[in-house]
Amino acid sequence: MAGKIKKKGQAGQARNYMTRTQAVKKLQLSLPDFRKLCIWKGIYPREPRSRKKVSKSATPSTTFYYTKDIQYLLHEPLLQKFREQKVLEKKISRALGRGDVSDAARLERNAARPDKTGRPRYTLNHVVRERYPTFTDALRDLDDCLSMLFLFANLPSTTAVPAKMIARCERLCLEFQHYLIVSHSLRKSFLSIKGIYYQANIQGEDILWLVPYKFNQRIVGDIDFRIMGTFVEFYMTVLGFVNYRLYTSIGLKYPPRFDQLKDDQGAELGAFSLEVVNPEAKGETKAITNGEAEQGPDPNVQAEVNKVVQQLRLESNEAAAAEDSLAQREVQGEEAPSDALDKFEPVAPGGDVLPQPSYSNTDPSQLFSNFTFYLSRETPRQPLEFILRAFGCKRIGWDSVLGEGAYTHDESDPSITHQIVDRPVIRAAMSEGGDGEDNQTTQKLGPNQRYPGRIYVQPQWVWDSINDEELKSPELYAPGASLPPHLSPFVKPTNGQYDPTRPLEEQQTEGEALDAELEDANGEDQDGEESEVENDMDVASEDEDEGEDEFGGFSGAEEDEAEEEEEEEEEEEEEEDGSEDVEESAARQRQRELEAEISGKPVPRKADAKAQAKLQAKKALLRKQRQEAEELERAKGMLSKKKRKLFEQMQYSNNKRSAEDMKLRAKRRKLEKELAKKA
């Protein structure tokens, strides 16, 4: 007896998936509401293994959700709120349809009053908790949240993006930045063409986000701000709770006190004053100070700092710098970081050496702690202020056009140790002696006026210093100097990949090196005697031809017998290549000498011999590569079809990467050559 015939779509994979239309129907929502719910609850479509098995209809569906996910949404309390909202909208539209404007207005007015007939109020707290069961989960997902909120904090307000939302985003972002400053959690930052990337490490989680430059954002293409707004609504809730938790974890009160007046004057970070939760333990408020409250520009310390800076300038080797920083710490009388690892030295021989994570003896979070910065008006104040503060700087002054909250608006303040400038050097002043060293001693007037006793650097100095966790030499970053390349601190150097920080010679392959040398040799020859070069080139090309013939011989199948015999002979020749090559080269050398004699030119001996040797090496390399390729082909032939495909796919991506790297190396070689030529 035959079994019961099974209907399609009743069991198996088909039951596990649901199209979007089915989901919307099941939840009895409109599509925008469904979208909202999906965004908030973090429900996303899935790709079934086999679309054909899953789809119950003939038409190809595009989006599939897990049935279980949709069932989970069915119990969502927000669903009821959506329905109430729909009811309210219906009421208003019905009133408008009847021409009952006053009634519609009443309902609209009541929209803010849920106790009457208004819009339902909802919060996303429970959703946040559901999506991130632990705080660490929330931190892990903070990348997108921060990027989004920082972007919205910089958007112009429109009907789609209300000013209130922007203000709240900005506030949350500034609060978050305050936490990073206080906890010194900022690790890296990177100036890219898209904006400024920051990386912070909070409770062991690396968080990377992008902050746009402070310009008016251009809005291009069709961007649905309703979708973005839904995301932002959720992210604002998340960041609010995250901020609360972060603040309370370091004993601060959340939300921090916000000074509307200062904010109106453009104080930004300075508009907040942090409060300690239990005032007995610490001071009442811990406003973001510019240092004057705690110590002030104590002349002794200042002198010390100046001395240190002087030393730093003079001595560039690392050891000295390390000593200095130690000295600094002693001078300041700061508590030594107690949670640092101690070095275990083996006392007696015979024990195993246990590896320890290396740490530097300078605390990167106090990198700028002894300096007073002054920002010129053309520098971006917000990122600089944030980074400097996060790395320990207490006193930052800036031009008054940059807003409120500065340590000083006076450029001539004597306590300033560093000034960040980003303006070109006027040519006339340069001629007087615009050397980096000179700005200490010579007093200049006019547009390039500089104050003695302080270091002038371009903004990139700050970024490079924090990324390398050491103070970079300011000469490289002096105003008007062409800057060293700014490298991304997020790229982990992997083996075999191109690394711009390492010299080219370490990275290039054997073949490339040979090629380059050959080219060099040719170039030199071209500089020298042209006729010889031609000759040489001829020889080389002949050789290559020969090589190619050999190469073709392996694959060519339709040669004549006679040809083939020749080939065999050649092959035999190849086998005893070494001795023959030497003989050959000797013969050629002789030939060349004869020719030179006839034409009456000096004989280029040495270079030629060298070039010859290189040519030989190249040929050997080629031969080796060819053999390897043949070997590979042979091995590939033994693979099954499926595996061969996989292998080729892997090979493809690897080859692509290596091709890219090769291109980069070639470009760099060219550049270096040009540089050398100039020099």
Binding site: R46, D115, L191, S192, Q217, L483, P485, D560
Partner: protein, 782 residues
């Protein structure tokens, strides 16, 4: 009527200020009533209350009458509310002379006050001075109007009564009132031409005069016709006439006791109030606040923060949940000041710009700015964020296991080339001599001589290493020698060759053949003659044609060394010896039933083991160790047990047309060549399907052959003119798969008429092989 009026008057006297309305009403009532019945009025002049009451009581009937009249009147008056004013006017016109009653009161008051002035000064309720004027007494002369000229003196009779008279009625003086002149037709025409003011062309019914209507009258007519209110002066919606004063009275008009509900608090109201109180207590009703303030407060309420993760519990990650992948961190080329080598060249830039935005590998071009202040805003940032949002909620997430392994680890572990050696690589000797194709080659078991057979019908024996021809015999003039095979034992030097339907067995002369060996070989061939004759005698009586005839080939050939000829029914294409050398099998594909024959040399006996084949037999071979025979048809290979006479197994290589097969000396593996360019390796223990399929040839594979002398090699010969040498090591352990490594392609034979290499054979112990080519040569590869 009278007493009622009196009553009203009394009332007016009682109250200080009677409502004007009532007065006016009363007045008008009185006026009306007077106009109707003047006679009744006079007695009421001096009536007092009691009198009036008395008359009321005594003259009940009279009163009834009066009341009746009153009723009629009262009926009349309210019914004609609209035209009341008009009626009043009319009444005023008609009856003013007779009206005396309204004047009664003032006259009386005058007497009381005793003053001659037409007003008196009174004190009103507030003690102020109040002038009270006398009522105007409309006496006879007071308001005289001209008596109207009587227009009609004839009374209520039709005008037609006067048709025969020149006059119509008489005037007050008794004179005839002459009929108005009615002119003749001319006169009337003239009249009509001079239309006087208000002319209508109508005649007044009453007077007979032409009826002239004034403009107002015409308008009235028009309005009546239109169904409008006739008098446009008339206000259709006059102000309401207040019947009761809106001024609060000091004293109640009614002395009825106040109802309880006025002073007992309402239960319903209390209930309503309690409801509100409760709502306020519960906070459902909030005190009023301006909407902005309310909104702000509500927002603050929303922004309340607390430690959401106070009681956090780490949960095991849901295996079905795929966290959104993070965006990759920026690389060097995204820097505002990247190293120079990351900047695109002009071509790259152009290529990027010309490419469709979707095809671009990166959504940005690396750029270099020499100062931070020169970096502009990134235009696509919002769009990129938006796309990320779309990805987060709309992109299906799939967990992809990225193979982060070295692709080379996928490659099989091949033995190193040095391990694979030795294998033939180059041509050592070329054997030239055959005219036409060389069909078959074979190296003798000792490995010194090579036998070839060709299209020219000759069998030649060569010195293997030198390539010198040492012996040849022309077996057939018209048929080609399709195959040559040595007897595989070293105690003899016997070569089997097939040409057409004949199989020849010969003992070639060769330098290595000692006379003893030569004799032994001849003996082996001759041994069967006696036996064969016996056998034939036994067979003959059955009447059937014998499967083969064993005979001597004739003296000429016998002198050359060809000692035996076996003739079978159809052309033989394959000869295959048993390892002991006593049996060999031949295959003649066209032979149908008798296509596979097994010949016994010692008995000169030919047997046909199979009566049926599932296809055309292509080749056959003995199992090297067991008494089994493999027969290959076009599609399948069948293995028969020769002792039990049963089918052991069927192999299905999957080839379309098998050309050849060979069995590994170990007996467990088999290679098959096919005309559809394949070489197949079968593991007999594993499956009926091939273990490996090798497709390295561009044309049909004609011959496959294992090395039989202990080297792990096998070779195939193909029509593309090449031989391929493989390393094929069969491990001792049965569970391990054999290692098959292609090692060499030997190219050298020319392709003639799409035929390349036709046969291949291995040297018995060296890694050398010999190939037979369609170009008329045989080659030794070593």
């Amino acid at each position: 009527m009278g007493p009622k009026l009196a009553e009203k008057k009394r009332k007016s006297r009682e109250s200080d200020s009677e409502s004007d309305d009532e007065l006016a009403n009363g007045l008008s009532d009185g006026v009306l009533s007077l106009s109707e019945d003047e006679g009744d009025y006079s007695p009421s002049d001096d009536d007092d209350e009691s009198g009036s009451e008395a008359t009321e009581e005594s003259e009940g009937e009279d009163e009834n009458e009066v009341e009746d009249k009153d009723d009629i009147l009262s009926d009349d008056v309210p019914s004609d509310v609209d035209g009341k004013a008009e009626i009043d006017k009319l009444v005023a016109q008609q009856g003013e002379l007779e009206i005396t009653e309204p004047g009664v009161d003032p006259r009386r008051k005058e007497e009381e006050e005793g003053e001659g002035e037409n007003y008196r000064i009174e004190k009103d309720a507030n003690g102020g001075i109040r002038y009270v004027y006398d009522e105007i007494d409309p006496v006879y002369d007071s308001d005289d109007t001209d008596a109207q000229v009587p227009v009609n003196t004839i009374g209520n009779i039709p005008l037609s009564f006067y048709d025969s008279y020149p006059h119509i009625g008489y005037d007050i003086n008794g004179k005839k009132i002459m009929r108005p002149a009615t002119g003749d037709a001319l006169q009337s025409l003239l009249d009509s031409i001079e239309v006087p003011e208000g002319w209508t062309g109508l005649t007044d019914i009453n007077t007979g005069n032409p009826l002239n209507l004034s403009q107002e009258e015409l308008e009235l007519v028009r309005r009546v016709q239109m169904g409008l209110i006739p008098d446009d002066l008339e206000d259709p919606y006059p102000d309401t006439v207040e019947y009761f004063t809106s001024i609060e009275e000091k004293m109640p008009l009614s002395s009825a006791p106040e109802p309880k509900r006025r002073f007992v608090p309402s239960k319903n109201e209390a209930k309503q109030i309690m409801k509100l109180v409760r709502a306020i207590r519960e906070g459902r009703i909030l005190p009023y606040k301006p909407p902005e303030e309310r909104e702000r407060e509500e927002e603050e309420k929303e922004e309340v923060h607390f430690d959401l993760w106070q009681d956090e519990e780490p949960q095991p990650p849901n295996p079905m949940h795929i966290p959104a992948p993070k965006l990759p961190p920026p690389g060097y080329d995204l820097s505002y000041n990247p190293p120079e080598e990351y900047l695109p060249t002009k071509e790259e830039k152009e290529e990027w710009e010309n490419a469709d935005p979707e095809d671009r590998e990166k959504d940005y071009l690396p750029q270099k700015y020499d100062a931070l202040r020169k970096v502009p805003a990134w235009g696509n940032l919002v769009k990129e964020r938006f796309e990320r949002c779309m990805d987060l909620y709309l992109a299906p997430r799939v967990r992809k296991n990225r193979l982060n392994i070295d692709p080379n680890s996928l490659l099989p572990k091949l033995p190193s080339p040095s391990e694979l050696k030795p294998f033939p690589t180059v041509v050592q000797t070329i054997f030239r001599g055959h005219e036409g194709r060389v069909r078959s080659v074979a190296i003798d078991p000792t490995g010194v001589a090579l036998a070839t057979g060709g299209d020219d019908g000759t069998v030649r024996v060569w010195e293997l290493l030198t390539g010198r021809e040492v012996w040849s015999a022309k077996l057939s003039s018209d048929e080609s020698v399709s195959t040559v095979r040595w007897r595989p034992t070293k105690d003899s030097f016997i070569l089997a060759a097939a040409a057409g339907e004949d199989i020849f067995l010969m003992v070639p002369t060769h330098a290595s053949v000692t006379p003893a060996l030569y004799q032994a070989s001849r003996d082996v061939l001759a041994a069967g003659f006696g036996y064969a004759t016996n056998g034939q005698q036994q067979v003959a009586p059955t009447g059937k044609e014998p499967p083969a005839k064993w005979a001597r080939p004739g003296t000429k050939l016998e002198d050359e060394g060809v000692l035996l000829r076996i003739t079978v029914r159809s052309t033989v294409s394959v000869i295959s010896w048993h390892r002991r050398g006593d049996h060999f099998t031949t295959v003649s594909p066209a032979g149908q039933r008798s296509s596979v024959a097994i010949h016994t040399l010692s008995k000169h006996l030919t047997q046909i083991p199979f009566r049926k084949h599932s296809g055309i037999a292509q080749t056959a071979a003995f199992h090297p160790l067991r008494p089994q025979l493999f027969v290959a048809t076009q599609r399948t290979i069948r293995c028969y047990d020769l002792q039990k006479l049963e089918l052991v197994k069927v192999l299905q290589p999957g080839a379309k047309w098998i050309s050849s097969c060979d069995i590994h000396p170990g007996g467990d593996n088999l290679i098959v060549g096919s005309y559809d360019k394949r070489l197949l390796w079968h593991d007999l223990d594993l499956s009926s399907r091939p273990h490996k399929t090798m497709r390295f040839h561009g044309a049909a594979v004609r011959q496959v052959r294992y090395h039989k002398g202990g080297l792990p090699l096998f070779a195939d010969a193909s029509d593309d003119g090449s031989l391929q040498i493989f390393h094929g090591k069969v491990p001792n352990d049965h569970l391990e798969p054999p290692t098959i490594v292609p090692v060499k392609m030997l190219k050298g034979h020319r392709v003639v008429n799409k035929l390349g290499v036709l046969d291949v054979d291995w040297h018995p112990h060296h890694p050398w092989c010999v190939s037979a080519g369609a170009d008329g040569t045989a080659r030794l590869w070593m």
